[in-house]
């Protein structure tokens, strides 16, 4: 459980987040949505410890700043928006960096399994910087998955904090990546994802936080948050939620079920 209480964040004198509160529960996919500049990434960076803030962020009941970096690394992995490498690593070596947190010893088969998981099987020997943008994003996701491979570890939920995990991906891979996140949460893990695509958000999230101008508009179930009035006000344009034919507000409840049915069929 991550509990953000009344945090404010300023960057270079500009207030980005203003008295914002946010919650993400264990075993859930919690999405953060909102227009550009609304503070989505800033909120995620406050939670990851990259940005200083006023207010309180509790992680499983204790102040998140009271955890050592090693203890945090054992519990949560972070996928940044852009990840440029300074040196020519191979894909295998990049994914293996996820093992730096020291959780899984030297288990050499984990990177290959994670790469297969994100659809990059056989890419181990390629150079990272020779991959396409979407492949790099999935390679980084594999690294992040390697860091917190077990969704539940020592009885505690592991966390994936994803900043726009599907921004560089085609629709097929967008679905694949969101299914990985959903599956991680279904197995007891927890996911916080900064999202732009409201359809994917509706399909895969348990909880949605809608931000605008550094404040929380509302947070709750997708069906309650993703409404015409909330979205139109937040995005300052006319947004109509299309309930037919897909009836998207039903999907969050159907989809986990469908996913498990599909897994059983496989």
């Amino acid at each position: 459980m991550i509990d953000v209480q009344d945090i404010s964040v300023s960057i270079a004198g500009t207030q980005i987040l203003n008295q914002l509160s946010f919650r993400a529960g264990a075993g859930q996919v919690t999405s953060i949505v909102g227009p550009n500049g609304s503070g989505k990434t800033t909120l995620l960076k406050a939670i990851t410890g990259e940005l200083p803030y006023h207010g309180a962020i509790a992680f499983d009941g204790a102040d998140i700043r009271s955890y050592s970096s090693t203890a945090l690394a054992a519990r949560r992995a972070v996928l940044p928006q852009a990840a440029a490498l300074s040196f020519p690593f191979t894909v295998f070596e990049v994914v293996r960096l996820g093992l730096l947190s020291g959780l899984h010893g030297q288990s050499d088969d984990l990177p290959a399994r994670a790469l297969a998981h994100v659809g990059l099987a056989g890419f181990e020997g390629r150079f990272y910087h020779a991959l396409s943008g979407g492949e790099q994003q999935r390679c980084q996701l594999a690294r992040v998955l390697v860091q917190v491979w077990e969704p539940i570890r020592d009885g505690k939920s592991s966390w994936l904090l994803l900043d726009e995990p599907v921004s560089a991906l085609d629709i097929g891979h967008q679905l694949e990546v969101m299914k990985i996140a959903r599956d991680f949460a279904d197995r007891g893990g927890s996911v916080i994802a900064v999202m732009h695509d409201l359809n994917l958000t509706a399909m895969f999230s348990n909880s949605v936080a809608l931000l605008a101008k550094g404040r929380m508009v509302t947070q709750g179930r997708p069906i309650d948050v993703l409404t015409n009035s909330h979205l139109s006000a937040a995005y300052r344009c006319d947004v109509r939620v299309n309930e037919a034919p897909a009836a998207i507000h039903c999907l969050p409840y159907l989809l986990p079920h469908m996913a498990s049915v599909r897994r059983a069929a496989e």
């Binding site: 970096s69 947190s101 050499d108 020997g125």
Partner: protein, 360 residues
Amino acid sequence: MALFDISVAPAARRPIGDRRDRAVQAIWASAILLAVMAVASLTVGASGTSLFGALLDWAGGQGIGLRERVILFDIRAPRMLMGVLVGASLAVSGAVMQGLFRNPLADPGLVGVSAGAGLGAILAIVLGGLLPASIAAITGMYTVPVAAFLGGWLTTMLLYKVATRGGRTSVAVMLLAGIAVGALSGALSGVLVYMADDAQLRDLTFWGLGSLAGATWGKLAVAGPLIGLSLCATPFLAKGLNGLTLGEATAQHLGIRVQRMKNIAILTVAGATGAAVAVSGGIGFVGIVIPHLLRLLIGPDHRFLLPASALLGGSLLLLADMISRTIIAPAELPIGIVTATLGGPFFLYILLRNRGILDM
């Protein structure tokens, strides 16, 4: 605990893209090369006698002549050890700087550490004569090395203070401050060169181009512990530098204590570079060429890159020193000229051949 964690499991079926086996082989090959170079460095030179036989005799427990003993153990041995230490510290400092600054072209020369050390040395050469006799008597032959080390150390501390705010060191600010400090050191050095007399100018030129000619057991006793201590710190940096290739934030997320790691890295580079510049002057290109070459061969994993850089850096400097001692014997060419002549074109060649890998 092994100093470097290079004890990888037997390669049953190493995944493709995993270059650890090749890295371990490269470390062994570099170690063998260094041993060969060390023996060659003891026995090749301008003396005109066969020292290899004398060395074998000595190793076999037989007595050798006074002349051979003096050349081998009083002249060449300290010089050889100094070459190994200076080469290793330059190459490792380059590799650590590049990892720290996340920039494959970073080098102690780039952030002004070498320039600061150089300014210290020049100050000592030009103004050393103004020291009160009592102090000069104490500092003696160590004036220039100690001043160079202090210059490098103070520069690093100054840069660090400028670039650190609230416990966080900004690499960009440090890089820019380094350029400013380098320019300032250059200007001050220029003023001092202008003030220098002819004999001092000769000293300055020779020192600036770099040489191992002044190596003695005494200087080795001054520089050796500092360089050795710095090199011993590098194994603790390898993991952190690996994480840092993904950026500071991601390194932190991986559980690396980034700020502590940066502190150790900066102290290591200041110690190793300051001591190396102090005893050998400005020897360029080792810190850039060696880590580059090794990254192309074994990849950028610092657990292997740092020890391999130390071994290969030592070998390269011994080779350059042998060339500098023999090519215009009995005179000596400053070693900086040799490393620049070997390193410059070689560096261009690897850049041209590997633009694809480096262009990222």
